[in-house]
Amino acid sequence: MKEKEKIDISEKLANLIRENSKNVKITVLAEFKDEKYELTDEEILKVIAEFKNEDKFSDIQILKGRTRYFFSDDSMSESYARTLARVEDKDLLKLIAETVRENSRIYPRPSDCRTFYKTPYNISEEIFKSVLEEMKEKEEYQDIKITEASNGVPYLYSDEFLEEEHAIALTEWIEVIRKEVP
């Protein structure tokens, strides 16, 4: 690849990623093929990998999922990009489990199931419930547990990061107690 061509392609790749990020969209590797840059995946990745050496591309970030995803941290946070990447992966079990684990580890707090029905997850309640059933059968998701607040609202947590008693108390605190003392 000639230097001028490389610069031109770099600018185009970065601008596409930035434009998508502004529009709350994560960029998938396959999208570049659609743009007909006539580069292989490896060539595209190589160009983007060199972004870290240039200040003007320092906002471009890469995430690994089923494929590679790209976003600009000028207009999108890493955590949101990670969520979009999980959605793009179209593996609902993994999406739910990783989100629940993250919440249980970082905040820490159990996850309100209703969150998954809305943007950016947009999972229907029916599908969500069937995914939870499926999770029960899979070894790698045995840490994902369900609990209910006293008003019947279900929350999920990972017992890898939250003890059961704590998760139950937190669920009640978040869903009921905090709301009763506004």
Partner: protein
Amino acid sequence: MPKYKGWAGKILRVNLSNGSITEENTTDYIDYIGGMGIGYKVMFDEVPAGVKAFDEENKIIFGAGPVTGTGVPCTARTNITSLLPSNPYNLISDGHMGGHFSPELKYAGWDAIIIEGKSPSPVWLRIEDDKVTLESARKLWGKGIFDTTAEINAIMGKEAQVAAIGQAGENMVHLSTIMTNGNHSAGGHGGVMGSKNIKAIGIIGTKSVKYDANKKDWIKLNDHVMSIIGANNQHVVPSTPQPWAEFHDPASRWTAQEGLYWGAADQEIETGICDPYDTHRIGYRTMKAIKDLGAIGEDYTVRMGGCQSCPVRCHSHVEVPELEKYDRSPYVANTCMGFFSHWYVMENMTEKQAFLAKTLGAQLADDYGLWCNYGQLGRDLKYAYHNGILEEVLPTEEYESIPWDKLENGDPEFLIDFYRRMTFKEGELSHLADGAALIAERWNFGEDYWNDRHNKLWSPMGYPIHHANESNGQVGALINIIFNRDPMCHSHQNFIGSGLPTKLQKEIAAELWGSEDAIDVPANYTPINEAKVKFTKWSLVRNALHDSMTVCNWMFPMATSPLKERNYRGDTSIEAQYFSLSTGMEVSEEELDLMGERIITLHRAMTVKQMETVDMRNEHDVIVDWVFDMDPDKAAFSPGTIKMDRADMEKAKTMLYEEFGWDPKTGAPTYDTLVRLGMKDVALTLGKKGLLPNS
């Protein structure tokens, strides 16, 4: 006041007994800043122990501060200080209201209004700059707050700011409010105004607040605050995952999101994505209606409203056509417990019924000027009803006249009957509005009343929890024992509820209070430690500062911010900057905090004086048993419980007393501390009465 700006320089004193209207110099009070501080100083100096809330010798003080009305964000609170009728000792307390009242007071050239005595006939106070008169309230007496306000505006002009009582205050119902702007209420002291035969205060101010800073510095400070401000309660993350945000918290009041609208606005208003850099959209961040009224609230929201100079807008203004079937206006506005308290009265409601109960209840209570004791009124009703007590204590005819079927079926119409009885003192049932401690004694409630956690009582004085042990354990618990009513202190709660991960909160806590140990993971508490005590003191001191300066304690202190580039740190020096730039009195954060400490200690001294005991620990700072006995299968300080430990709590009290320089055994202010804080006069007064520890 030649030296400092910010303050107007004058305090208005109105003697209702002899009709005299005089002015005093604010200079005498600037060590107490304004608002709450002036209120406490006047009360300590002028109201003897033994005076009750409705006695002529009681006073009521409406206070602004040197920052009020300057236009910088969140500086429009009014502090109201007097004796609290629902407290069994009638101890000193505060109510606060937002809106535009105290800025107008400043524009009229006044820092505070001291009202004393009792008028021989109903009056209202008319203030137009220096022109102050007492007007006959003969035609206003008997009207609700809405009509009273409208009448005074018809007389003075629509630009007048009005604070009024309704029939509840007139009838000296203990649980009554003073309200301004139709939806900003101060709980507890409406009956004090009623006892003095003063119906309302109307103010027009045509002057300005003079501040010391040059315009450039003032705007720079304003812009700085706007850059780090969050949503309501200084929540600094959105409630849903959003592209700009690294964190989110479903409990956050930063509820703006795509697909969430002000559903009853006259044009399409989507709250949308409000990132922290777009300061023109701060007013959309807190779509509070869905928090206070449920998801259904969206469809009824015309707009969000709030106080002068506040960009946050936390009051939901809704239009509810269904209220017309109850002969009420469809327009309602309020926030938080202003809506929630009516839900506490009712039970067995559908979502729609709950919504109607909250909005109808707000209409009724706001007009009557009825207070809820932070939701306790409704819980007391239900306790007494479900335990068969009402059937015992009410005359049969009265009991059978109450529409219990409506209560049991979740029919909001129950509130019409219930609130009328409370307001007009109809029958024995109306004693519920005497206050929890008084009704418990009158109707001989059992220990179960105090010790059922669902009743939410905190103190044997009859006030409930308000961000108590559920808010960072000992920190919230200690805050809840210091005042003489539910503490309206959000300094700690704002920080705990910021929405940031606990690890980040701990880092910030270490910077502010010396150790990460100041913050526990919720429902996984640890024993008391020095950092928690410092956090507690800081919270109380800042609360006193805010209610004296006046700034909004629901937004300040701004310990956190939504900005990743600041590592989510806020700026806790803003209050000191506000104060310095407004007054010209250069103070550091620590120096200003010392002034707040003075005010808290003065409150403590007044409480000692009124209770005529130094033994605050055992006579005042008492917590009911459920706090320690809940979750019997769990130990305190284990994951999964918010219960406290008695010995740990006593230790926590001792540490807090020491932190304030109070006597570690009794919790009473010492002579040395009072002198250190410039209150030798207070020390001498208490000393003469034998009310200093070890005296």
